[in-house]
């Protein structure tokens, strides 16, 4: 039957329902298991092949050799598009996705992170500490 107010009963019913929205930031949505959030770099596993650097569409990653067979990474996360192509391209599972999504910041430079190598006990090479 054609008459106005077709949605009225639905609207009235919603009066007694919980809101469809969440009270963020007090209540946070849990991200699914394989959510493509912030990329993490596991420094010990990296072999410095730089495939991730070549495949990243946004020039986020910079792999730096600091000593023989020792590599550090610098991530410009403000440019990252969270495609996780680097994770897929890496032959050594050095990179992984994390469920971290709250990255909003007022200071863009804080999104530039460097993953430092742990000091090596035998060779005594001190990793360069340089972070802007």
């Amino acid at each position: 039957m054609k008459k106005p107010g077709k949605m009225l009963s639905e609207v009235l019913k919603s009066l007694f329902k919980k809101p469809a929205t969440l009270r963020y930031p007090y209540i946070k949505e849990k991200m699914p298991k394989n959510f493509r959030g912030l990329i993490n770099f596991i420094q010990e596993k990296c072999i410095g092949c730089k495939i991730c650097m070549r495949d990243c569409p946004a020039n986020v990653i910079n792999i730096i050799k600091i000593a023989d067979k020792k590599f550090e990474a610098e991530f410009k996360n403000d440019q990252c598009l969270f495609c996780a192509q680097c994770v897929e391209s890496c032959p050594r599972d050095t990179l992984e996705v994390t469920p971290e999504y709250e990255l909003a910041t007022l200071d863009r430079s804080s999104l530039k992170v460097r993953y430092h190598a742990k000091p090596d006990a035998e060779t005594k090479t001190e990793p360069q500490v340089e972070i802007k």
Binding site: M1, K3, G5, R36, P57, C83
Partner: protein, 408 residues
């Protein structure tokens, strides 16, 4: 009656994206429409030539936020054709599942926007709430709510687990229920019927002459659907039919979209139930052999066309994107004729426009002669420097300081 010409856009509260319509009115009625695009040109095609094929997938995916999968699929299909890659059947099925889920979220989004444009915000709130079901599902499958990044050359990047398959089927049940309700709303709510009927009329002949695609064309009885006409991915194995309508107005376009949603649920059930086993991807070479291909994909808004030319390196020589909105814009001018000024937003919204996806070039107009002029980057830069200088802003000193800072 004296004719009045008013501009709508480029920045206008009724338009979500920048586009400029110069509308000539006689009283309240539109007599002539002139359109100008290009405010959101991003140089995507050129940028593709500078990047590798793999990087281009992610760039092209960002041509459109709503039909991101449509763009990446169309590109990937073209490259797969050039490289003669045989995508495993499971990969094709998963690609199609994402494509259809995307159609659901795009059509529900449209329903809400259309409701909003005619002041029926209740519809907007409810359809967008239900759209969350499919957005959530996409996030669970692909790891992201938009820009799913599921495509890669030779297949898809993520597999579907049996759990996810069950979730898809459960979500389809909920959404089908809701869509039936919306069909009821569209068919029975008199305010909606009266507001949309006869608005933005586009006869079948006009639609054919102007090459309307997607739901816009199908609402004018053009039974064209790339999924049927030139089946790609898993569509050759599926049973569904093309929804058309003979209203030829905005109301018809609403009916086509909700009708299409019901077909999509049917398609999704088939896809999930018949999901074949096996690998989801084959290995693709980094360098694509020389060749060219044209690929067509039925995006939620209509046919999306990609042309790719490869030259044997790891970067394409040319990528051409034709988004569906471009094909429908010619019809918009016709649809607006003899309608009221107040109908402009809904007529425009009825083609589900996406101007940023459409813009492929900028043309500068000479203000006096209205003649077009092409400007290269150097001229453009010089122009902006002079423009600011005239207003007392000189960046030369600032530039030097910046360079010094960078060097130190």
């Amino acid at each position: 009656m004296a004719k009045v010409t008013i501009p709508i856009g480029p920045q206008h509260p009724a338009l979500k994206e920048p586009a400029c319509f110069t509308i000539t009115l006689s009283g309240e009625q539109i007599t002539e429409v002139d359109m100008r695009l290009g405010y959101n040109h991003r140089g995507v095609e050129k940028a593709c030539e500078e990047r590798t094929y793999l990087q281009d997938i992610y760039l092209l995916e960002r041509v459109c936020g709503i039909c991101s999968h449509a763009h990446s699929s169309a590109f990937v299909q073209a490259v797969e054709e050039i490289a003669a890659l045989e995508v495993p059947k499971r990969g094709l099925y998963i690609r199609t599942i994402i494509g259809e889920l995307e159609r659901i979220h795009s059509h529900l989004l449209w329903l809400g926007v259309a409701g909003h444009e005619i002041g029926f915000d209740t519809l907007l709130m409810y359809s967008w709430r239900d759209r969350e079901v499919v957005m959530e599902l996409l996030a669970r499958i692909s790891g992201n709510r938009v820009n799913y990044a599921m495509n890669t050359f030779g297949g898809v990047r993520r597999d579907l687990t049996p759990d996810l398959c069950a979730e898809i089927l459960a979500a389809v049940d909920i959404l089908e229920e809701r869509t039936k309700y919306y069909i009821g709303v569209v068919m029975e709510e008199v305010t909606l019927i009266q507001r949309l009927s006869g608005v933005g009329y586009l006869s079948h002949e006009d639609a054919v002459a102007r090459g309307a695609v997607g739901p816009t064309g199908r609402a004018s009885e053009i039974a064209s659907d790339t999924r049927k006409d030139d089946p790609y991915a898993a569509y050759p194995y599926l049973d569904f039919h093309t929804v058309t309508d003979n209203h030829c107005d905005v109301y018809g376009r609403a009916l086509v979209r909700v009708g299409e949603l019901m077909q999509t649920y049917k398609i999704l059930r088939q896809l999930v139930q018949e999901l074949p086993d096996g690998p989801i991807v084959v290995k693709a070479p980094r360098k694509i052999p020389a060749g060219e291909a044209l690929s067509r994909y039925e995006a939620p808004r209509g046919e999306d066309v990609y042309y790719v030319k490869a030259n044997g390196t790891d970067k394409p020589e040319r990528v051409k994107v034709r988004a569906p909105t471009l094909a429908n814009l010619a019809s918009v001018a016709k649809m607006m004729e003899n309608n009221y000024l107040a109908d402009v937003p809904i007529i425009l919204a009825a083609i589900d426009p996406c101007f940023s996806c459409t813009d492929r070039m900028i043309e500068t107009l000479n203000m006096d002669s209205r003649a077009g002029r092409l400007t290269d980057f150097r001229q453009l830069r010089q122009f902006s420097i002079n423009w600011y200088k005239k207003r007392g802003l000189d960046f030369t000193a600032l530039n030097k300081k910046l360079i010094l800072k960078q060097d130190s």
